[in-house]
Amino acid sequence: MADSTTSTGSPGSRLLGLTTLVGLAGLLLFAFVFTEPDVRLHPTTGEEFGQFDAVRLLYLHVPMAVLTYVAFLTCAVASAGYLLKRGAWWDVTAHASAEVGTVCCGLVLVTGSIWGRPVWNTWWEWGDVRLMTTLVLFLLFTGYLALRRTPAEPQRQARRAAIVALVAVVDIPLVNRSVEWWENRTLHQQSTLAELKIEDLTLFTLMLGFVVFGLVFAWLMLHRFRVGWLEHAQAGHEVALAIAERHAEMETLDVDAAIGQTGGGK
């Protein structure tokens, strides 16, 4: 079998992987060494306060949240593409982006919870609109992935999954705008970048986080897409093999019958 069908790697993807690793190392340096913890001196009490080291989670949490949106929107666009064109490329893209997006969304929930304990004084607040809409988004796409694992005829499964993705993606504007629309129902702060309440090395490191995790995302998408495409090709190959076997059986039976007739005539 050719190398291209046994590996999802390519010279381009290896270069991307290497760049990503270098970027991750750089990001770790900036996040843990070059940037300072968030410590302020209170003007009235004179006490130190702030987020301290918990602020470093910002460099992972915020890029992951943005990549969650990117992944699920990609999934929705690819799902719409599948429903319109019925091509396997669209379906494999939708599946790959949903899987990567669910990982990102899970990391958003976990890092947010870890950050929330020291800063908010709680791991989780049931009823908080930002938290709940994000949890719902995670559950919807977990359901999407579960649906993709149910035994069904491939085209029917792809069609169902595409419809679920288009329903699930409606939650994204609710997640994103919840801090503006229901300000008094969430502990979550409003956008820092939109109001430019971040500067210097903290801003630079956050931007670096976007770039590096963007590369991680691209690498994961590339490989997951290739795995999906190989699975698709494998399924097609197995169907072709089964048909060929069936034809071979029929031909053998025809030959046996012909031999039987010839033998009977002797």
Binding site: V119, R160, L187, T192
Partner: protein, 181 residues
């Protein structure tokens, strides 16, 4: 390839290639999958409506909580406000408590919070508290320089910090409120 085996005789026989009528479509599967999908959508809508519709999850601003005091009665609710400088450590009904004053604009409300305050509790950093109105003055209120002392206080037992979105270090602005703000 081995020939098919006749189940009754156990002998190998020719494969039956007589055209068969296709199996009828299992129509029950389609409505079932739609029912499952609708159930998921209904569950999500239920969670969202419950999240958005539950009054106890709404944060009253201090001024709103003061105006709605009669209406709220002894009901538990959430209130968001900015702590004023000054904190008294005391006890209430045999439990450790802290007493301080919350504000929004120039409206004040005294608070007796059972238990320890949040780690990041500081004047100027808004907090969300859960509890109810109680008539009277909390113990140690006389030691606070800018208390409301209006004959009511909030007795709370759940405190979370509503952190702002400012990451500019010492340039970050704290919430300011209270009389003369």
């Amino acid at each position: 390839m081995a020939e098919p085996v006749d189940e009754e005789s156990g002998e190998a026989g020719p494969l039956d290639l007589t055209p068969q009528a296709s199996r009828p479509q299992r129509r029950a599967r389609k409505p079932f999958s739609i029912v499952v999908l609708l159930a998921v959508v209904a569950a999500v809508v239920f969670v969202l409506l419950r999240t958005l519709g539950d009054a106890s999850l709404f944060f009253y601003e201090v001024d709103e909580a003061v105006s709605a005091r009669a209406e709220l009665g002894t009901e538990r609710f959430r209130v968001v406000g900015t702590p004023q400088p000054g904190l008294v450590e005391t006890s209430l009904d045999g439990q450790a408590a802290v007493v301080f004053t919350l504000c929004v604009a120039d409206v004040l409300a005294d608070v007796a919070h059972l238990g320890d305050p949040a780690e990041l509790f500081q004047p100027g950093v808004p907090v969300v508290l859960q509890g109810s109105w109680v008539s009277g003055d909390p113990p140690g209120i006389e030691n606070l320089s800018a208390a409301a002392e209006d004959g009511w206080y909030l007795r709370t037992d759940h405190m979370v910090v509503k952190h702002d979105n400012d990451y500019r270090g010492d340039d970050a602005e704290l919430e300011s409120c209270g009389v003369g703000s």
